[in-house]
C-alpha cells in the first residue's frame, strides 16, 4: 500500500510521451535542477555554520542563561516554513519595516534584498532548519571524549588545528546526519518556496498538478524529484557507512565548560539573541501582534474552532493509524529479520522520497481508479499523511524496539503467555516511551503538512495549515496570523516533550 504511490509515479512518468520529456528537458528541468541543488547547498552551508557554532558555544562555554538558550534554540522547529516565509515576505518586502529602517540609514533609494529570491529562500529555510544540525551536534558534543583533544594538545597542535583535524572529524557523523535532514527538508518543502516564489522541483510539481488538465508532466517532474532524493539518500548512507567512529572505553569525562568573562558572555548572548530573535522571537511576536488585531477586528469567529478540530482530528487519526501500521512492520523486522520482513520495513521508508505534492498526485489518481468511493473523503488525506510521515515515526520506533532484548519476550513466553499477550504485557510497556515519541512526532508533522492537505482536503474540512496558506498567499497577513499562531502554540509542548526524549523533531 505504501509503495503503490511510488510505483504509480514511475509508471506515469515512463508512460509519458517522449515529446513531453524533451519539452520539459529543454525548458524547465535545467532551471529547476539548478535552483533545487543550489538552495540545498546554501541552506546546508548556513545551517552548518549556525548549528555547529551554537552547539559548540552551548556545550563548551559557561555563560549566564546557558540552560535557557540550550532549549530556546530548538524552538524555530515549531515554526512551519510557510509561516516563517510569510512573516519574512512582510518584513523584507518592499515598503516593509526592514526596508524602511534601511532607508533611514541609506536614503530613500535604499533597497534590501527581496525575500522573493534565492537569498530570501535561503534565509528562511536556514532559519527554520538549523536546529536539526544544532541538536545533533550538541548531542554528539555532550558524548564527546575529551581525551582525543587532550592528546592533540599534548602533541603540540594549535587550537585551530585541533579543531580542524580532531574535533570536527569526530563530529562528522552527527553533522552529516543533521545536514541530510536539512537537505531532505529543503528538497521536499513546498510552503516556503511557493510563498517566496522560488522555483524548485516540489513547487513545480504542485504547479503542474493544479494548473494543468494533463498530469503527465507533473509525473515526469515527480519522478525526477524522487530520483534526486533517492540518490541523495544513497550517498548519505554510503558516507555514513564509511565514517563510523567508536568509543572504545566507557571512561569519559564531561568536558569542563570554559567560564566566560562579562565581555564573552555579552558577545555570546548577543549572538544567541540575534539568531533566536530572527528565527523565532520576532516572527512569534509579529504573529501575536497580528492575531490580537485580527481578533480586535472580529476576524476570528467560531469557524476557527472547526479548523482546529479538523487539524487535530486528521493529525491524531493519521498518527494513530501510522503507529498501528508501523508497529508490526518494525516488530517483525527486528525480531524475525527474514528477507520479506526487512523488505516490508524498507518499503515503508519509501515515503521519505515522496514529497507532499508527489504523494498527493499519486494518491489522487490511484484512489479515483481503485477506490472511487473514498475519493474526496478524509480517508485519502489520512493515507497520504501515513505514507509521508510513517518513515519518521519508524525511525523512532525501530531503535525503541531494538533496545528491548528478545530474552525478555522469550522469558514471558516460557512462563506461559501467548504471543499477543507477551507483546502487550512485556514489549509494549518497555517501548512505550519511544512509541509515544513517534506518535507525537507524526502528529506534529501532520499538523504542519501543507501541499497534500491542500490537494486532498474534503469539502468543508479546512485545517489550520490550509487557512494560513489561503490567507498568506493573498498577503492578508493579519488574517493568516491566528491560524499560524495556533499551529505554533499547539506544536510547542509536543516539541519540548520530544526534545527531552529524542531529537528527531520536525
Amino acid at each position: 500500500m505504501i509503495c503503490a504511490p511510488l510505483m504509480y509515479i514511475v509508471y506515469l512518468a515512463l508512460s509519458a510521451d517522449s515529446s513531453v520529456w524533451s519539452r520539459l528537458w529543454n525548458t524547465r528541468i535545467p532551471e529547476l535542477l539548478f535552483n533545487t541543488v543550489s538552495l540545498a547547498v546554501s541552506v546546508s552551508a548556513g545551517t552548518f555554520v549556525l548549528g555547529v557554532s551554537l552547539a559548540w558555544l552551548v556545550v563548551r562555554y559557561n555563560f549566564l542563561g546557558r540552560q535557557v538558550w540550550e532549549w530556546a534554540l530548538v524552538l524555530p522547529l515549531a515554526m512551519p516554513t510557510y509561516v516563517l516565509a510569510y512573516v519574512y515576505t512582510y518584513l523584507l518586502g518592499a515598503g516593509g519595516p526592514v526596508e524602511q529602517a534601511w532607508q533611514i540609514w541609506a536614503g530613500p533609494e535604499g533597497r534590501v534584498f527581496s525575500p522573493h529570491s534565492y537569498a530570501g529562500a535561503t534565509l528562511v529555510m536556514t532559519l527554520d532548519t538549523f536546529p536539526f544540525v544544532y541538536l545533533l551536534t550538541r548531542a554528539a558534543l555532550l558524548n564527546f571524549n575529551l581525551s582525543y583533544e587532550e592528546v592533540a594538545r599534548v602533541c603540540g597542535a594549535s587550537r585551530l588545528r585541533r579543531m580542524l583535524t580532531v574535533t570536527l572529524p569526530l563530529l562528522r557523523p552527527a553533522i552529516v546526519a543533521g545536514l541530510s535532514l536539512v537537505i531532505l527538508y529543503v528538497v521536499s518543502d513546498f510552503g516556503a518556496v511557493s510563498l517566496l516564489r522560488f522555483q524548485t522541483f516540489t513547487y513545480a510539481v504542485y504547479q503542474q498538478i493544479t494548473g494543468r488538465y494533463d498530469q503527465t508532466a507533473a509525473g515526469v517532474l515527480s519522478l525526477l524529484l524522487v530520483l534526486f532524493a533517492l540518490i541523495f539518500l544513497v550517498i548519505e548512507r554510503w558516507f555514513r557507512e564509511r565514517s563510523r567512529f567508536y568509543q572504545t572505553t566507557g571512561r569519559y569525562r564531561v568536558p569542563a565548560r570554559k567560564p566566560c568573562g562579562p565581555l564573552g558572555t555579552g558577545l555570546i548572548t548577543l549572538y544567541m539573541v540575534v539568531v533566536f530573535g530572527i528565527a523565532f522571537g520576532l516572527p512569534a511576536l509579529l504573529l501575536i501582534h497580528w492575531s490580537v488585531s485580527a481578533v480586535a477586528e472580529g476576524a476570528v469567529d467560531v469557524r476557527f474552532l472547526g479548523f482546529m478540530r479538523n487539524s487535530v482530528f486528521l493529525s491524531g487519526l493519521a498518527a494513530t493509524c501510522a503507529l498501528l501500521i508501523g508497529t508490526p512492520l518494525a516488530y517483525l523486522a527486528s525480531r524475525w529479520p527474514s528477507r520479506l520482513n526487512v523488505l516490508c520495513l524498507q518499503a515503508a521508508y519509501a515515503g521519505y522520497v515522496l514529497p507532499g505534492p508527489v504523494g498527493a498526485l499519486a494518491l489522487l489518481v490511484l484512489f479515483s481508479h481503485l477506490a472511487p468511493f473514498w475519493y474526496g473523503t478524509a480517508v485519502v488525506l489520512i493515507v497520504a499523511y501515513i505514507v509521508h510521515f510513517l518513515p519518521a515515526g519508524l525511525q523512532t520506533m525501530e531503535p525503541a524496539l531494538q533496545q528491548v532484548t528478545p530474552n525478555l519476550e522469550e522469558a514471558a513466553r516460557s512462563l506461559g503467555l501467548g504471543p499477543v499477550r507477551t507483546f502487550r504485557e512485556t514489549t509494549l510497556p518497555l517501548v512505550q516511551g519511544g512509541f509515544v515519541a513517534a506518535w507525537v512526532l507524526m502528529f506534529l508533522q501532520c499538523m504542519k503538512e501543507l501541499p497534500a492537505t491542500l490537494l486532498l482536503r474534503p469539502v468543508g474540512f479546512d485545517t489550520l495549515a490550509v487557512r494560513v496558506w489561503l490567507e498568506a498567499s493573498e498577503e492578508y497577513y493579519k488574517l493568516a496570523a491566528p491560524s499560524a499562531l495556533l499551529i505554533v502554540i499547539m506544536t510547542l509542548p509536543a516539541l519540548l516533550l520530544l526534545v527531552s526524549k529524542d531529537w528527531r523533531a520536525a
Binding site: 519539452r23 529543454n26 525548458t27 518592499a94 515598503g95 527581496s114 522573493h116 516564489r197 504547479q207 498538478i209 493544479t210 494548473g211 494543468r212 488538465y213 498530469q215 478540530r309 482530528f313 491524531g316 487519526l317 494513530t320 503507529l323 498501528l324 479515483s368 472511487p372 468511493f373 475519493y375 474526496g376 531503535p399 533496545q403 532484548t405 530474552n407 525478555l408 522469558a411 514471558a412 512462563l415 503467555l417 504485557e425 512485556t426 509494549l428 510497556p429 518497555l430 512505550q432 516511551g433 519511544g434 512509541f435 509515544v436 515519541a437 506518535w439 490537494l455 482536503r457 474534503p458 469539502v459 468543508g460 489561503l470 498567499s473 493573498e474 498577503e475 492578508y476 526524549k501 529524542d502
Partner: protein, 362 residues
C-alpha cells in the same frame, strides 16, 4: 527513550501477571481514547443539516463568501465552500464523477467553465430568469454555465514611473525597453492562459510567440502567483507595469487611495484588438443531488440584487444590463472589448498552454 535494563523493572509485567494484578497499559489506553475521540469527531463532522449546498469555487473566498452568506440568511440553505485552484477543481470534478459532493462550480474563467461543460460535468439550465438577466454572449448556449461578472485583463502602471501614453497595446510590454520592469502572473494562471488565447486568436501564433518571449525576458524573476502581489509590486514601484485583471487595481486603490497606481485599457486605438475580457461564472454540477436549491442560488446570483453584490465585492462589471458598475470604475461603454467569444477560450486553451510551455514561461 526507555532504556530499562533487563533484570531490573523490565520484568515487571510478567510479575504483575503472576500476582493477578493488571494495570491498564498506557499506550493501549491512549489509543482507545484517541479512537473514541476520533469517532466522536467523525460523527459531528458529518452530521449535516438537511438543506445544504456544496460549492467548488475557484474564486477567492472573501470575494464570494459575503454573497453566499446573504443567500444563506435569506433561504436557510447552508453552503459549504471548497476554495481552490480553478483547473484543480475541474480535475477534481472529473475524477469524482457521479460521486462528487459538489452541487455548483463557480470560477473566474469562462474557458474553465466551458471545458467543464465539454467534459459533461455541468447541467444545462433552461431557466427564464437567466435568459432575462444575462446577455447571450456571456453564457453557454444551453446555460450549462452562466457568466456573473465581467473582468478585463489589462495593464497596471505606476503613475510616477510611467506615462499612460507609453503603452498602447498589451503587446508593447514585450518591447526591450520594459526589461526588468514588468510583473506577470505564472503560467498556471487562468487569466494569463485566457489572455494569451485571445491574443493568439487575434494576432496568430507567431506574433504571440514573440510577445511571450519578450514578456518572459522582460519579467525575469518578477513572476507572481497572485495578481494582488503584482498590483502590490507596481504600487510600490518594484516594477513599472504589470498584467492583471482590472479590479485588482481598483481594490488596491479602495484601501490605499494615495497609491501611485492606475489602470490602463490597452488596444483601444482604431482597429486594435480591444481589451481582453473574461467572465466569472457559475454552473450547476451534473450529478448534483440538490438541483432545486442549486437553481435557487443561480437565480439569486443573476438577480439584480445578487448581481450588484457579486460584482461590487470585487469591483467587476455586472453582466445584468440594468445593474450599474461601481462608480470608481471607468464607464463600461467608454472602451471596447476584444471580439473573441468566451466559449472559444476552452478550445484555445490547450494550444495556448503548449505555446506557453514552449516559450518556457514559469
Amino acid at each position: 527513550m526507555s532504556n530499562r535494563m533487563p533484570g531490573s523493572d523490565g520484568e515487571r509485567p510478567v510479575i504483575r501477571e503472576r500476582c493477578g494484578y493488571r494495570s491498564p497499559d498506557g499506550p493501549v489506553r491512549l489509543l482507545t481514547m484517541l479512537a473514541v475521540v476520533g469517532a466522536i469527531l467523525v460523527t459531528t463532522a458529518y452530521s449535516e443539516p438537511a438543506d445544504r449546498l456544496v460549492v467548488y469555487s475557484g474564486r477567492a473566498e472573501r470575494l464570494i463568501k459575503p454573497v453566499l452568506d446573504v443567500f444563506q440568511a435569506k433561504t436557510g440553505i447552508h453552503i459549504d465552500l471548497l476554495s481552490s485552484g480553478t483547473t484543480e477543481l475541474v480535475n477534481r470534478l472529473q475524477a469524482e464523477g457521479v460521486r462528487t459532493p459538489a452541487d455548483l462550480f463557480l470560477t473566474n474563467d469562462a474557458g474553465s467553465l466551458e471545458r467543464a461543460r465539454e467534459l459533461g460535468l455541468l447541467r444545462p439550465l433552461p431557466m427564464r430568469e437567466i435568459e432575462r438577466a444575462v446577455p447571450a454572449q456571456f453564457r453557454a448556449p444551453d446555460n450549462s454555465w452562466v457568466g456573473l461578472s465581467g473582468r478585463f485583463w489589462i495593464v497596471a502602471y505606476n503613475t510616477t514611473l510611467v506615462k499612460p501614453e507609453e503603452v498602447k497595446s498589451i503587446l508593447d510590454l514585450a518591447d526591450p525597453r520594459w526589461k526588468d520592469k514588468v510583473a506577470i502572473p505564472n503560467a498556471g494562471s487562468e487569466y494569463l492562459q485566457a489572455g494569451v488565447s485571445v491574443i493568439k486568436a487575434v494576432h496568430g501564433e507567431e506574433r504571440t510567440r514573440q510577445f511571450l518571449q519578450g514578456l518572459k525576458t522582460n519579467a525575469g524573476t518578477q513572476v507572481y502567483g497572485k495578481s494582488s502581489q503584482i498590483v502590490e509590486a507596481v504600487a510600490k514601484g518594484q516594477v513599472a507595469v504589470g498584467l492583471v485583471n482590472h479590479y485588482y487595481i481598483y481594490r488596491h486603490l479602495a484601501t490605499q487611495p494615495q497609491a501611485p497606481i492606475a489602470a490602463l485599457m490597452p488596444d483601444q486605438s482604431e482597429g486594435a484588438m480591444g481589451a481582453i475580457m473574461n467572465v466569472a461564472g457559475i454552473g450547476v454540477v451534473r450529478h448534483t443531488r440538490h438541483l432545486d436549491s442549486a437553481k435557487l442560488l443561480v437565480e439569486f446570483l443573476v438577480s439584480q440584487a445578487g448581481q450588484k453584490m457579486f460584482a461590487d465585492l470585487d469591483k467587476e462589471y455586472p453582466l445584468h444590463p440594468e445593474v450599474k458598475a461601481d462608480p470608481a470604475l471607468p464607464e463600461r461603454r467608454s472602451f471596447r472589448a476584444a471580439m473573441v467569444p468566451l466559449a472559444r477560450l476552452a478550445e484555445l486553451r490547450e494550444p495556448t498552454m503548449a505555446l506557453i510551455e514552449q516559450v518556457g514561461l514559469r
